[in-house]
Symmetry: D2
Subunit: 130 residues, 4 copies
């Protein structure tokens, strides 16, 4: 399974002293893009060509809070859920004890330059890979 | 119903030219805190006293993308779903035509200084209010 | 003088309980773009056409910290400092007492699609305006 | 000299397709805090104890833009400039060719629980170290 190591940065923490909820979406997105890159799917190159990978739905479950100096890793698994839809299942675990911190499910589609969802051979490649 | 007007800022847009997905969570959080303030519940004061309002789950449905210079408003409604859990139902609408852009459901609990969830008379006040 | 009203959002505050230093650059940038828009210079449209307004240097002086719920306004003044360089002088003042919180000086140039700095009739228009 | 390796994340890039200017302040702050940690000075622990390391002035020179997938490193050097003031000189270099991208000078002071600047034996330790 794809695992991406990261570390909390102080500026990502809010006045509660923990990582702000919206930042986990950044972590998940970054790990997802690195996962895509590993399969030679480049989010930023595609965007320049007018093909956008769009997320249509996100579910986030916050179990425990990440804090300053926490080292953690983000996992990525992908499932095809319709001809044009993919589900990215992701988790954040604390490095030191593999404790589950946050879980996410993101539904994605590929959208062409006209804004139309399209079947994506690139994303299909991920399925064999995972 | 509580409505909070906002405007897209260019730095909130990413290389796809639209508001980055994680930023919607910022918008929803800010509107939620302004909604709480209107009922004299102050998120940052509570945090200083050791009482944290925590979100345990978020669901986001992205219908259409906000773009630079878009004016929009965020709505907030609250429902009690158990003795200690509250659901915040929120939507983002484009100002010019009331088109639905993004929907969110956030489940929240109040947590005391020891990290224990607790019944919250403050949050209960919101229910009569809404 | 151009003045743009804003309000601190809780997620912009860090674990010191005040607005994180990097966020002031967001505030200044947003106010600057609104200032440009008022003169019909659209940062995001120009970016799409391949003309980028680039900042080459920023100086920031932090006098006092903005905190949750603070209402403030951002001022913008512009000076031409060479054939192709413009200086944006900006200040953030607390709304309730006009107290100076943060000052900024940003040096900007217009850059064409090939990455070359160019004289900009659009930016020159700002000078008469200010 | 202290060097901290980082990698651009797509969400840090704005609609110009490059890292947004304000994000460099995040990079510099994070590298500075890691530098302090190496000398056992913990920014977030100090904040909890009421001792805040505050930046009073920042100068940033943007030479070249970081883009998606760029690997880079941030350097940190420190100089004492008065009894209570420290200057952090920092640079960002592209990993692949050591090209200078952005330079920063940040003036910092330690501030006690009453908001008074104070001489800081902790920060003085950095000077021998550097």
């Amino acid at each position: 399974m794809f695992k991406y190591p990261m570390r909390v940065r102080d500026y990502e923490c809010d006045l509660q002293g923990v990582v702000n909820n919206s930042v986990y979406q950044n972590y998940f997105e970054h790990a997802r893009h690195e996962f895509l890159l590993e399969s030679e799917i480049d989010f930023s190159d595609l965007a320049e060509q007018g093909v956008n990978l769009m997320v249509t739905r996100v579910e986030l479950d916050f179990k425990r809070s990440l804090r300053p100096k926490h080292d953690f890793y983000v996992t990525v698994e992908v499932e095809k859920i319709s001809r044009i839809q993919y589900a990215f299942i992701q988790h954040i675990y604390l490095l030191e004890n593999d404790q589950l911190m946050v879980s996410s499910k993101a539904i994605g589609v590929a959208v062409n330059a006209k804004g139309r969802p399209m079947a994506s051979p690139e994303l299909d490649r991920l399925l064999n890979h995972a």
